[in-house]
């Protein structure tokens, strides 16, 4: 079956670049502004720029939370990007402790090394920690563009797919079965980002 990508349009940031990036790698892509538009998708993308509580509020209010849980439960692939990756967690501590989608157990925490400039903005080396991650095999390395103040701390180390370093190692990518997330912006990371999106498109459930 030809992959069909649906990007969840839930009012958290501009999706034009992400849509363009999937189109660039030849994917059949649409922006879903209602949960019904997710139904035909084989691959769901949860993007997002903004705060965790607002993101969950929007997902819930627009009916995406239930749809995502059901479809991911059925085995559809999902890729969270930036805030979208964080929303996969059990909970986030931005502003107030807020429940997330809990598709990958863990908490979203703020960078807290003393004197560290937050947000973390810019290009940073990112390393694959396991065989066949979205970045390639363990040890595969590439440079991606990041903009974030919080990061995902998974409860289970087995869910860590990619790491980067900013005042200490942090988790840059998570993977657990059909659920994946990356903290950086592949749609702003040139060929490295496009290759990663292509690998996601080529994944099968």
């Amino acid at each position: 079956m030809k992959p069909k990508i649906a990007i969840i349009g839930y009012g958290m940031g501009n999706l034009a670049s992400l849509h363009n990036a999937f189109a660039k790698v030849g994917a059949d892509v649409c922006i879903a502004v209602t949960p019904a538009e997710l139904e035909p998708a084989t691959h769901i993308v949860l993007p997002g720029v903004g705060a965790f509580p607002q993101g969950m509020h929007q997902l819930r209010t627009l009916g995406f939370e239930d749809a995502v849980r059901r479809l991911v439960g059925q085995g559809r692939l999902i890729l969270g990007i930036c805030l979208g990756m964080q929303l996969l967690a059990t909970e986030g501590e931005e502003h107030e402790l807020t429940a997330g989608l809990n598709l990958i157990p863990g908490r979203v925490v703020r960078f807290n090394a003393p004197g560290l400039r937050v947000p973390h903005i810019g290009w940073n080396d990112t390393v694959s920690r396991r065989t066949g991650s979205l970045l390639g095999d363990a040890g595969a390395k590439d440079c991606f563009y990041y903009v974030h103040s919080y990061h995902f701390a998974p409860a289970d180390a087995a869910d860590v797919a990619l790491t980067s370093d900013y005042g200490g190692e942090f988790v840059a990518g998570v993977e657990r079965g059909n659920v994946m997330g990356v903290q950086f912006h592949p749609e702003k990371s040139h060929a490295a980002g496009l290759n990663l999106l292509k690998r996601f498109v080529e994944r099968t459930a």
Binding site: A16, N20, A113, R117, P119, G122, Y166, H190, A191
Partner: protein, 266 residues
Amino acid sequence: MFLPMLKRRLIPCLFLQNGLIVRSQEFTQFKQLGNPTAQLERLNDWDADELVYVDITRDGAYDLKRDDLKTASRSDVLSILRDISRHCFMPLSFGGRIRDLETVDAFIANGADKVVINTGVVLNPDLITQVAEKYGSQAMVVAMDVKREADGSYACYSHNGRERLAKPLREWLAEVQQRGAGEIFLNSIDRDGTANGYDLDIVNRVCEWADVPVIACGGAGVFEDFAEVLAKTPASAIAAGNIFNFTENAYRRAKKFLRDAGANVR
């Protein structure tokens, strides 16, 4: 300031005038270099860390909107931006003639990740806060065009280098940061287009006073000028215009030069 591991950025800066790419010299002379859409493939080949577009069309020119004068309207600039964001997958910054939040909204909705503003925030400093609150500080880059005065001090200028700010540079810098600026785009008017090298003195001063990343611009003539900024100042990024426009593969060769010199670049 603790700044671990981040790559130092090399940013091509492209000047748009009436919808065409031009080169700029000391803020006064401009030479047309071509159509921005025709440059898209080249820009991708560069694999740049980030792109900054600055629209330097004089205010009056847009309002005429007369085809016979070949002036581009604001909507033409937005359509240039849309074209770029369809083909280029990197952070994009847009600046020039931005005076209000509505214009910022339009740039961001059409694919810009950041806006770069000088005159607009000099006239209305609250615009910094509005942009930072709506899109985050990382989207609000304040441009400071600086010039060395006869007494050796530096002053900030707005309106394409025509109006001198009454506030001392350091005071203005503190104010824009307090209002939410996420980055400072520091451009030397004296060095603009001269290819005489960066003004390391002012870059170092501003880096010392700033809590946010500083992008140094103005004066690059040879790749050694980039290496010098990276070696002798803590600037987070270097921007340059003309040097990338005149020789083949200048961007890639500059990156290789910096990597070979041991700089922490992508």
